[in-house]
């Protein structure tokens, strides 16, 4: 039952960018990711979820990963395999655990990532933080 689309999907180019962690670059990568998702046939509603969740992960890198006044690397990877879109956002900075009470103006990024993706995992490490998120392109699994 899972045979027909696999060989086609594996031909779709995966996405990979490494850019400076700056707000304008995060916005550009969001657009490129959205275009890619459209090209590989991800439905519009899911595309919107991917764009927002990936952007929130990238915004966290831009705002929190590197000490104020410095900048580092922002990396985006995406691919589609067997009907599952995987998006990985990576930095080479220092994970900042969210405060217990972030106040009314902060702390919405990670909840959005969790709510919008089928599955998400934040992996902080000594060499940086990786956020991995997945979506099904069949559209039936999230709602």
């Amino acid at each position: 039952m899972r045979l027909p689309s696999r060989s086609l999907e594996s031909l779709e180019p995966a996405l990979h960018y490494r850019v400076p962690a700056l707000p304008a670059r995060a916005a550009t990568l969001r657009q490129l990711l959205c275009e890619w998702a459209g090209e590989v046939g991800v439905p519009p509603d899911t595309r919107q979820e991917i764009a927002l969740a990936a952007y929130e992960a990238m915004a966290n890198v831009v705002v929190h990963a590197y000490p104020p006044g410095t900048s580092g690397v922002l990396e985006l990877q995406a691919d589609l395999t067997d009907g599952v879109v995987t998006v990985v956002i990576r930095d080479e900075g220092q994970w900042q655990p969210p405060p217990d009470d972030p106040g009314p103006l902060h702390g919405r990024g990670l909840p959005l990532i969790r709510e919008l993706s089928l599955d998400s995992r934040v992996s902080p490490g000594p060499e940086g933080t990786t956020v991995r998120m997945t979506w099904s392109t069949t559209g039936s699994s999230t709602r």
Binding site: A27, R30, D45, Q48, L52, A59, V62, R108, L112, E115
Partner: protein
């Protein structure tokens, strides 16, 4: 992202067009600052033409609501996946007055 300011009776309406994210949210905050300086009775942030709303944009809405305080009642116009859904998922619809259309936001008693 652009913001157009309109006066509707006692309400000031900020019609926002484009994307509200890390890059553009500070410009909305600036427009809100300017609008609140006149202490209107009602300030409506109309996101009908916003195609992307990130948490930084949501923070700008919450900030506007807080700064409006007792003098200015802040209302938001949002509908659909791009704007209403992020507000709903983050629980902001329970705290801010969110209306589906500008007409409805204007006709609240």
């Amino acid at each position: 992202m652009s913001v157009h300011v309109e006066q509707h009776g006692a309400a000031v309406v900020l019609r926002v067009t484009g994307e509200l994210d890390l890059l553009t949210a500070p410009r909305l905050e600036e427009s809100v600052d300017n609008a609140l300086r006149e202490q209107p009775q009602v300030l409506i942030l109309d996101l009908s033409e916003v195609g992307f709303l990130a948490s930084s944009g949501i923070a700008a809405l919450v900030d506007a609501h807080q700064r409006g305080g007792k003098e200015t009642e802040v209302r938001v116009v949002a509908r659909g996946n791009a704007t209403f859904r992020p507000l709903e998922l983050t629980g902001v619809t329970a705290k801010l007055a969110v209306h589906p259309t500008l007409d409805e936001a204007l006709s609240v008693e």
